[in-house]
Symmetry: C2
DNA sequence: TTGAATGGTCAAATGTATCTGACTTAAAAG
DNA sequence: CTTTTAAGTCAGATACATTTGACCATTCAA
């Protein structure tokens, strides 16, 4: 997402790993979706929970997720403004896949760390 | 992956979406794994199948996947050289998650495209 | 003796995702 | 009259992923 390639909108025929990464391979999109799984969150709440994100990227990420119909944005015409974000039904359908990835990461971490330290000492004396 | 953050090796406790993206959020890693699902492939075969990848990025991607124990690299001491890459068992465990993502993308594409065109014409005239 | 093929490496240039910091709007509180 | 708040916007700088193009070693075939 965010990239130009998206506009080249995705090739129904190919539907490869590339399309997924074009959408979610950025730094924040999946994280925002994951945070919204429990319900509504305001802009500032997301900002606090993620901490390291810049305002600009939070705005950009939320906008692109909204454009794709994965989250919805509700504005309350108050002062100061109040904006709440929730997952749409479409957005919710992504959660099982995210969970699977998270589970894979949790299960595989020991093996990955082991492989990595093996590379550090390639059967050295 | 490839980024520095990886070295900061990943926080067993957090195990969030971030760790996954730090590993696979790049442009090529998941694609390589997906291509290797059917069996061995030589360097040049991967190069041909992906087309748009540069030699350098193919090398870098393969090396980092090997370091993480997801693929294995077998060199045949011939001239000209022959190098074959295969998924390790660990690498294979990632396939179901990839499949789930691909299925999600295929299923959700119509809805995403619809949402996107709705944003293009926000109930205008 | 030149060229092709394989699996690379390296330096430098490019592209683009992301960050920083300043600014905005409107009302309400001090 | 100044500050605070929420949810942004904008310009400019930075970081880093990726590409381009040159190069290497070795052997066989022309």
């Amino acid at each position: 997402m965010i990239r130009k390639e998206i506009k080249k909108d995705f090739d129904m025929a190919e539907c490869s790993v590339r399309n997924i990464l074009d959408r979610f391979g950025d730094k924040w999109s999946l994280m925002v979706i994951d945070l919204l799984r429990e319900g509504k969150l305001r802009y500032s709440e997301l900002d606090n929970k993620i901490e390291s994100i810049s305002q600009k990227m939070l705005t950009v990420t939320l906008k692109s997720l909204e454009t794709d119909g994965l989250i919805s944005r509700k504005v309350y015409p108050q002062i100061p403004p109040r904006v709440e974000y929730t997952l749409t039904e479409l957005g919710q359908t992504l959660l099982p896949a995210i969970d699977m990835l998270k589970k894979w990461a949790a299960d595989s971490m020991p093996a990955i760390l082991a492989a990595r330290s093996k590379m550090a000492t390639p059967s050295a004396p």
